[in-house]
Amino acid sequence: MDFAGFDQQDGLQDWQTEHGRAPISTKIVVAGGFGVGKTTFVGAVSEIQPLTTEAVMTQASEALDDLAATPDKVTTTVAMDFGRITLEQDLVLYVFGRAYGLAYPAAIAGIVVGSVIAPGLAALLGGSGALVVVGGTVLAYALLVMRGTDHAAAAVPVSQPAMADAVPAR
């Protein structure tokens, strides 16, 4: 049997072959409304081919998703997308993206607080932002603003100025 179809060497980092010790691994979750660019963002920052599960949007979801702002968008994220960033050889960050309108799986239950807060903030700001929750808590976060196809990420301070520019401008 063969599970081929992925590249073992994709984004290979030194720490992956040093099994004596493992880097610290943590995660952030990019939450945000439909079509703001969560998947694009994950893909932009990931060192590996982003692992993405997307399903073509069905008529059932058309009633729920407002397409007025993104008429060309034909798919929406229905599962977790994620990428990986090796920040240092002993610090690895996994970046997850998921539409906040969907229930978060227990797998990332640690960020439930973020999922509650993100929609509120998005509503406050007209639904044009994606919230970045760092480390699974609301200890600190930044608001990521994405406009159109320009993926430049401008960070807006929310509660903790020190974390405001946690998102690289790309």
Partner: protein, 130 residues
């Protein structure tokens, strides 16, 4: 990705129900967060055996696939996505492999609850350097 209809070299496991892979189990004894890193425990004398020997023939192909994949240290989430297996199933199988001494499960390097400020600041400065 079309699953082939017979047991062949390129078949996917989509026709096997997840509960069948785990024998109905949903519990696992290790801390396996999505970002938890795992790696195959090197057994140089068994390198061949892992892929062609008795062990590989005895166990489910899913076990072998995980062992192969984890020759490079990876997270639980990566394994689940790359093997297209549900996270819950992968967790049970990884836990089994860990119990068998085939896979090493590493700590994430921080507690299960709130990450401390020092870690958050390291993440922040790491992101700034990108």
């Amino acid at each position: 990705m079309v699953p082939s209809s017979h047991r062949g070299a390129d078949r996917r496991t989509s026709r096997v129900r997840p509960y069948a892979l785990t024998g109905g189990r949903t519990q696992f004894g290790h801390v396996l967060l999505v970002e938890t890193l795992v790696a195959t425990i090197d057994r140089p004398e068994e390198q061949l055996a892992l892929t062609r020997g008795d062990w590989a023939e005895r166990v489910m192909p899913e076990f072998r696939a995980i062992v192969e994949l984890c020759r490079r240290m990876r997270s639980v989430a990566e394994i689940s996505a790359l093997l297209r297996m549900p996270l819950g199933v992968v967790r049970v199988l990884i836990s089994d492999l860990a119990d068998q001494g085939r896979i090493r499960v590493y700590g994430t390097g921080h507690g299960p609850g709130s990450p401390d400020r020092a870690l958050l600041e390291r993440v922040l400065s790491g992101l700034r350097r990108l």
